[in-house]
Symmetry: C2
Subunit: 144 residues, 2 copies
DNA sequence: TCTGTTACTGCAAGAAATCGCAATAAAATA
DNA sequence: TATTTTATTGCGATTTCTTGCAGTAACAGA
């Protein structure tokens, strides 16, 4: 059972309809183990499906995020990017000054997430957390 | 010394020019201890400065975030919101399903942030972290 | 205070993301 | 398989955010 099929079956079980467009979007996002923009996904599908519309891509990505099959983050250039949740687990450390992005282990985060769960009943999904701050290159005497 | 003046002096020290537009934007954001959209800030300033342009508001907000005086987050309705960093410290727990947002203490997060600092040399600014997941209302047997 | 440099602004154009609506097609049912 | 229901699509319009550029004004230096 591929990750792609798992997603499709889960959506079907929730009562969503599986259209060729949705299949192609899920397939594209799953097969590329990277962060893709809606535009990029659209561009990759176009050769196979001439009429697929960018709005459909956005709407499907919204659905995937809402249903927990994908995560949305803000890329270096300010555009939204999407990734499946099978995308290997890590944190993104993004420098607010230079925009550099570092991948970091989230191992030490677990105790805190469990604390949030017991305190608020909120189940954080930590596969793809983005934290902002200053990278080693940009740390300098505080702005006072 | 108000928070507003601290920001202005810090910017001046970094070599940025202090224009009336920038002063009004900083003042507006500081005095409202809330999350404001660029549009909302613009609307509030317009009566006092007829010609102020929305692009200037966006550019100033970018500057404030880059310089660490403000944080940017994605609001319930998908628009970007901004807040000063004097805005009381808390985490945002946002439900990916229903969009509900909870304010949470970030106290327990500190040890993990220190770990990130020593491992990666990255100084996370945790005043306004947004974590996504499922809220108590939306947690249900896994989609499986 | 006056002058020169150039960062900043307003404006208009452009790009990214969302939305309303009529036509279409997924899938449940007979 | 044919029928019915209604979620989903494509398309165009709209909204949100960004960018290029020429004119303006902040502020450093004389
Ligand atoms: Mn990632
Ligand atoms: Mn907040
Ligand atoms: Zn940096
Ligand atoms: Zn919820």
């Amino acid at each position: 059972m591929t990750h792609c099929h798992t997603t499709i079956q889960s959506l079907r079980r929730q009562g969503f309809r599986i259209t060729p467009q949705r299949e192609m979007i899920i397939e594209t996002l799953t097969q590329s183990n990277a962060h893709l923009s809606a535009e990029e996904i659209h561009k990759r599908i176009k050769p196979r499906s001439k009429t697929i519309n960018l709005a459909t891509v956005y709407r499907t990505l919204d659905l995937l995020v809402e249903q927990g099959h994908a995560t949305r983050l803000i890329g270096k250039e300010g555009k939204f990017l999407y990734a499946t949740r099978q995308h290997s687990r890590h944190l993104h450390l993004v420098c607010r000054k230079c925009g550099r992005a570092y991948a970091a282990s989230y191992d030490g985060l677990q105790p805190f997430l469990e604390q949030l769960k017991s305190t608020y009943g909120f189940q954080v999904e930590a596969e793809h957390v983005t934290l902002y701050g200053l990278c080693p290159h940009c740390i300098h005497p505080p702005n006072q």
